[in-house]
């Protein structure tokens, strides 16, 4: 059953592959580009940057987002920074080192060629952002400033205070709006993609719902790009925005696109802990705080004293103790697991004993409050607004939270899925981060995919389609997809059960946190699968959606997204159960080293698991893309 999948990696030495690709890729001449239509779903950094770049080249773009403005996409919330290999600090950085850091950070579970390309293209992004007017942090001399991030020993992170994602996104959003003004981009805000339309096996359009009017629309194109972000919101409590969802990629998956490594979710070590049962999300505190903040727990269980009352010698700076060479800047998966270990051992702090301390008192003593405020002022303010606590005076309380999807739609070197003409970029694909993403590589990947990769690879695809007429949305494939979408919406409305989508979602999130979160076991995953199946059955019978489908209806929007989560969550558990090893963020209790670190099994699991929809959520087909390491020898990761 399993199909052969080809990553289509270009010939040549690692450092020449992308140049070779660009030298030989097919092109579309400028006068032909305006005849070609491209749909881009999502307006985050990946979506906005690719839509703007392709429009600048002359293609006709339709850009979609569910938010009320493209500028609100969740890239906006990334705080700490964006990595790039400029070696401005003269501290030993190089493209190879950045590639190696990323590959190692991902626990040797990503494709060498893709990861190398990410590092190779990183420098141009900083040039582009500066030209757009992104106000990065500067030295007094006027030169760009850098900071350090987790999992590396150089300073290659560029930042705009604690709002780097916002500033980069505004850069690409403005470029997008410029193209809209010039008539090259049609913008569809408050629109949600509800299905992908295939004609003769190729991606030819989408079915979208206008969220303000309820109208179902057909949109045709020569190619479709999904830049719809990650699905960490599946855990219900997460650092993601309320609207983040998996529906676009999941519906593409059900139309034939393979889904790779869906269980690899990064749990971010520094988010704010849950404070009560009504909570709707967990707020992230940037990893950059770990540059100057020190993480600790009290040495004794059930500590009753407040943080400032606990003397130095009774504190356990466990990251510094366990990982002396990286200390508080250990990669995210390791830092999160170490926090969970302390909390599980009863050392947790806060009312619910679910947090650890992040302490700035040493940094404030050393550098002064003013410098700390300049570096992290907005984060300290945010912390105060949410918790009512002044972090200049006492340590922050932080806790791990679901954050980033390393998994996503399987794509080849061109970032094309297994459906011809369907591309997936940014967090929506699986490509660059392996089993764990390094901090500040997410903004980078979204930008590199959007500004620098798709403009070449989509041309390579479209070059064979210049004679193809505009897609006819009266084609039966559109009618059929529209009918399916309409029927599903009606089914949600007409069920008239007793539980809202949100209530189901909370239950699903608890199952996933418990059994497919920071640590997983065969027993836990098997029981999660049966719990999810039961919940999904209940969802089919007992869902309550007030209102109707012909109008604005937030509850109906949630119903569709949770419906997809009910299926994707089972695939995540199946994926985690299949992988009898630990790697990066995927920690199987059965497979660990003597000191409790992730233990890979390269002999059997050096592959990406690309799952194929088989008509039913419980029986996906496994396809394997072997990971061949030609240039790097995978080692046991060590940050000690």
């Amino acid at each position: 059953m399993a199909k052969e999948i080809h990553a289509n990696i270009p010939e040549g030495d690692l450092k020449d592959k992308w140049s070779n690709y660009k030298a030989h890729a097919k092109l579309v001449s400028p006068n032909n580009r305006k005849k070609l239509n491209i749909i881009v779903v999502g307006t985050g950094l990946a979506g906005a940057s690719t839509a703007a770049s392709l429009a600048e080249m002359g293609y006709k773009i339709k850009s979609f987002c569910f938010q009320d403005s493209p500028r609100r996409a969740h890239s906006v919330a990334a705080q700490g920074g964006v990595n790039a290999m400029k070696n401005y600090q003269n501290d030993g950085d190089s493209v190879y080192r950045m590639f190696y850091d990323t590959l190692k950070g991902g626990d040797f579970r990503s494709r060498e060629a893709n990861t190398y390309r990410l590092a190779e293209c990183s420098a141009s992004l900083i040039d582009q952002a500066v030209a757009q007017g992104v106000p990065f942090g500067r030295e007094y001399s006027g030169y760009l400033r850098n900071r350090s991030f987790g999992g590396v020993q150089v300073s290659r992170t560029f930042y705009s205070r604690g709002q780097t994602g916002q500033q980069l996104l505004l850069g690409s959003y403005q470029a997008l709006m410029r193209q809209k003004e010039q008539g090259n981009v049609q913008l569809f805000t408050r629109h949600e993609m509800l299905d992908l339309v295939l004609i003769d096996g190729k991606a030819k359009g989408i079915i979208a719902r206008n969220l303000d009017t309820g109208e179902i629309e057909r949109h045709g194109a020569h190619a479709v790009i999904l830049a719809t972000g990650g699905f960490g919101k599946i855990y219900y409590l997460s650092t993601l925005a309320m609207g983040c969802n998996a529906s676009a990629i999941w519906r593409a998956h059900k139309k034939g696109a393979l889904m790779a490594n869906p269980s690899w979710t990064q749990v971010h070590p520094t988010s704010l802990p849950q404070s009560g049962p009504y909570q709707s999300k967990l707020t992230l505190m940037s990893e950059s705080l770990r540059n100057d903040g020190r993480i600790w727990v009290p040495q004794s269980n059930n500590e009753q004293r407040s943080a400032v009352e606990i003397p130095e010698e009774e504190r356990d700076y466990y990251l510094e103790r366990k990982y002396p060479s990286f200390g508080n800047l250990a990669p995210r998966d390791i830092a999160s697991r170490a926090a969970k270990e302390q909390i599980d051992a009863g050392k947790g702090v806060g009312a619910l004993k679910n947090a650890v301390y992040l302490d700035f008192s040493h940094a404030i003593k050393e550098y002064g409050q003013e410098l700390i405020a300049e570096r992290y002022g907005n984060l300290f303010n945010m912390y105060q607004k949410i918790t009512g606590i002044d972090a200049y005076k006492e340590p922050m309380k932080i806790s791990p939270s679901a954050h980033f999807s390393m998994g996503g739609l399987w794509v080849d070197y061109d970032l094309m899925t297994t459906i011809p003409g369907l591309f997936a970029i940014g967090e929506a694909n699986f490509s660059d981060h392996g089993a764990n993403r390094l901090g500040a590589n997410s903004l980078l990947q979204a930008c590199v995919d959007g500004y620098y990769i798709t403009p070449y690879t989509i041309q390579n695809y479209l070059a064979d389609h210049i004679q193809v007429e505009k897609t006819d949305t009266n084609h039966p494939a559109f009618a059929e997809a529209e009918k399916q979408v309409q029927e599903q919406l009606n089914r949600f409305i007409n069920q008239k059960g007793t539980k809202t989508a949100e209530e189901f979602h909370r239950e699903l999130g608890e199952i996933l946190y418990d059994k497919c979160g920071l640590s997983r076991s065969e027993e836990g995953l098997k029981s999660a699968i049966s719990q999810i199946q039961n919940l999904r059955e209940e969802y089919k019978k007992n869902l309550l959606v007030p209102g109707d489908a012909e109008d604005i209806n937030s509850e109906l929007e949630k119903a569709g997204r949770v419906n997809d989560y009910m299926e994707l969550s089972e695939l995540m558990c199946i994926d985690a159960l299949n992988r009898n090893e630990s790697c990066g963020a995927h920690f199987r209790e059965e497979y660990q080293t003597e000191d409790g670190e992730a233990k890979r099994n390269d002999k059997e699991f050096a592959y990406s698991a690309a799952w194929e929809w088989n008509g039913e959520a419980s029986s996906p087909v496994l396809n394997k893309e072997p990971l061949e390491f030609e240039y790097v020898q995978p080692t046991q990761r060590s940050y000690k």
Binding site: K86, Q132, Q174
Partner: protein
């Protein structure tokens, strides 16, 4: 705690809205304001009524999508705070809270507390950018920008586009929003080239879209979640006059 909510309900642009009363008994002080509205909506859904439509997304104060008038103040009583970052500890047991949409001619109500702020996108489209295509950029460190200039540009660039400035202004002026972009780009060497054209186009677009004039009441900065300075408006006026004089 017990909260007496008076919430604006309006089916669409063409129907009249009204305030509806709801009592919530089990509000927790640690809840965010939007979680309190979630609680109301769950209650309404269970009773078979239409939940209150309101805008929100990131819930961490940066996407700019949330925003309602709370007791007549944009984003509520806390200074420099978005609605999503406001917590119920800012209220007390027994309080009555009035919740209404941002009201302005250029922000028509879509339903209940949701308004259409696409006019802001239109203002940016008129010139809120540096006209550089992907691939044209020179080496980043070839454009030197002093630390203070960069920080000052950032202060302007921090605007989240929520629309509180418009909602709170008696003239429903978008001067603070528009000026923050104009002045961010005018402060940077790479943005100076187009400054005149950008300023004139954005100001004209702002007027065409039905926003009112700025009469320097400075209410906008008071209720701005990012504390964007009204000095940006002064810079916009300066850039505008300069552009007009040049002609």
């Amino acid at each position: 705690m017990k909260i007496d909510l008076k919430v604006w309900r309006q089916k669409n642009q063409n129907t009249k809205g009204h305030l509806e009363s709801y009592i919530l008994d089990e509000v927790d002080a640690e809840m965010s304001f939007l979680e309190m509205l979630d609680m109301l909506n769950l209650k309404l859904a269970k009773r078979g009524e239409r939940p209150v439509e309101f805008d929100h997304d990131c819930r961490e104060g940066i996407c700019g999508q949330c925003g309602v008038m709370i007791n007549g103040i944009a984003h509520g009583p806390l200074k420099n705070t978005t609605t999503c970052q406001l917590h119920m500890r800012s209220f007390k047991d027994g309080d009555t809270i009035y919740v209404e949409p941002f009201k302005a001619k250029a922000f028509p109500v879509i339903r209940d507390l949701k308004v259409d702020r696409s006019a802001f996108d239109d203002i940016i489209a008129a010139g809120g950018y540096i006209s550089v295509n992907t691939g044209q950029a020179p080496e980043a460190n070839s454009i030197l920008i002093s630390h203070d200039e960069a920080e000052s540009a950032f202060d302007s660039a921090a605007c989240i586009g929520c629309g509180a400035c418009v909602a709170t202004c008696k003239n429903a002026s978008a001067a603070l929003f528009t000026s923050s972009k104009i002045s961010q780009l005018a402060k940077l060497p790479q943005g100076k080239k187009e400054s005149s054209k950008r300023t004139v186009n954005m100001v004209n677009r702002m007027e065409d879209l039905g926003f009112g004039h700025c009469t320097n009441t400075e209410a906008c900065q008071v209720e701005c979640p990012q504390d964007i300075s009204v000095l940006n408006i002064a810079q916009m006026n300066y850039e505008y006059n300069k552009a007009k004089l040049k002609k």
